[in-house]
Amino acid sequence: MSGLDYFEVECTEDGSDNYNKIATTVLQDHNLLGIVEGLHIYINPAYPLFVATGFIRQTRSVIRVSDVGNVLIQDEKATISVGDETYLAAMLKMFWQKFGHDNVDQPDRFTVIIKNVDIPKDLREWVVIDPSESLFKDLIYAIQVIAPEGFKVRRENYGKNRFSFAASENTLPAEDIEKIIADRFAKMEETLR
């Protein structure tokens, strides 16, 4: 799969080709191809068990106020001329919270004015959104879509740059899963590093 440095679907029965295609489509649809570095999927339809393990690339940098638009500070007034509307809603929400609704004005689509308050000097540096916060949620959601349906017993883990997901319709065999996850991580590490 393009974009991933490691990708494998391991399956104890015929059908890995289909899951290969499903995983590619789902990651593409959720815009995750650039973020996932490696992905290993293990499926055992007999138990049934689905385990996904993966590495994540260093995440995108945070979005600051200066990324949303040009900031012009004059005395008690700050004017932001919006260049990228993608994060405008999040920025407005943050301003309302910090300065109050009355002091934040949006006279037209591309202008935001803050007045009647002390304008902090580092306004330009304020963080609007940290994409890595929602990243794991998106990722786990995508893996859930890839996994066969009806696997309601789930266990998911994520750390600094790796995640694992195990699911089944039966009770999860904790020890077996630990072993599967550790083995697959070791294998991926060997290939990637």
């Binding site: 029965e13 059908g15 295609k21 499903i22 007999a46 049934p48 066969p148 349906e149 009806g150 039966n170």
Partner: protein
């Protein structure tokens, strides 16, 4: 008289003449779609008159094709209405059936997912049994289909076509008792069916459906229905004008041996039973008017000649 299903495609110019001509020949228009300036008519008409219609419509650049699925109502059964099956694997099959002339419905089960935990409830079972044919769109693993399919087919009396990712032979071998048709290589997928290979698999589904429908039609021809469903549809359209105010896609869905009438059962059932078809024969004499499990609709099952001794 044997009625054959055909599709007529043509412009709106002098369409009324085509419609009149079809009706004069003893044909029935089962469904009509207006697509911009083009009109698609799904018609049941006497076999020997098809060439007359072709000759008649030639100057108008109309196109007449045989489409065996016209006049059937088919259900596409999927384990649930989750993103795992929608939109692509389920909707693409249903849409392909529709474009081939059938009236298709999708039924997503409440708890059809999983292997051990899959189950079918009575409402789903009855709803499936109200159709002419059921297509089960199942997943990617042979062992999983083998375990869950017997549970999902329990109590189903209509012919079933089983589709899944394993090869056709594998599906055929593991299904006991056998079902009416199999399509392999389909399974669960998340992409749109665009490639030639994908479309070919959908064609295989249609092929299999046509085979089953043809067999079913032959079975019915051996003991003909007391009245043709298409004729009953025409009578209802004429006698119950309220049907014009129903905005469902197909207010009267024609099936192989009956109709689904999208009017309230408590209000209209008796009215339908009392409709006169010809002379002394009423609808109630040749058909069972039953409550459908789909909303509060009416389901009409036409009885065969051997039961009523009447053919109108």
């Amino acid at each position: 008289m044997m009625l054959v299903p055909i599709t007529y495609k043509g412009g709106v110019y002098r369409l009324d003449e085509i419609v009149d001509y079809i009706e004069d020949l003893g044909g029935y228009i089962v469904q009509r779609h207006n697509i911009a300036s083009e009109v698609v008519l799904q018609v049941l008409m006497p076999k020997e008159d098809i060439k007359r219609l072709i000759a008649f419509s030639r100057p108008l650049a109309g196109e007449v094709t045989e489409s065996p699925l016209v006049g059937t109502e088919i259900v596409v059964v999927i384990p649930s209405l989750e993103i795992h099956h929608l939109p692509h694997s389920a909707c693409d099959v249903a849409e392909y059936l529709r474009s081939n002339g059938s009236k298709s419905n999708i039924l997503g089960m409440a708890r059809g997912f999983g292997k051990r935990i899959a189950q079918l409830n009575d409402e789903e079972r009855d709803l499936i049994n109200e159709h002419d044919l059921a297509i089960y769109v199942l997943g990617n693993f042979a062992s999983c289909i083998e375990t869950k399919f017997p549970k999902l087919r329990r109590g189903i009396t209509v012919p079933i076509i089983l589709t899944g990712a394993p090869d056709r032979d594998v599906l055929e071998k593991q299904t006991d008792p056998p079902v009416a048709g199999y399509v392999g290589g389909l399974g669960r997928f998340m992409h749109r069916t665009q490639t030639e290979a994908d479309i070919h698999r959908l064609d295989l589904v249609i092929e299999e459906v046509e085979k089953v429908v043809a067999a079913r039609r032959q079975e019915i021809a051996n003991d003909p229905l007391s009245v043709s469903p298409a004729r009953l549809q025409a009578i209802i359209k004429q006698e119950i004008p309220e049907i014009e105010e129903v905005y469902s896609p197909a207010p009267i869905a024609v099936q192989l041996n009956g109709l689904r009438l999208k009017l309230s059962y408590p209000e209209y059932a008796q009215k339908v039973r009392d409709l006169v078809i010809e002379d002394e024969v009423k609808v109630g004499d040749v058909a069972d008017v039953l409550p459908s499990r789909m909303r509060n609709y009416i389901l009409i099952r036409i009885r065969p000649l051997s039961e009523t001794n009447i053919v109108v």
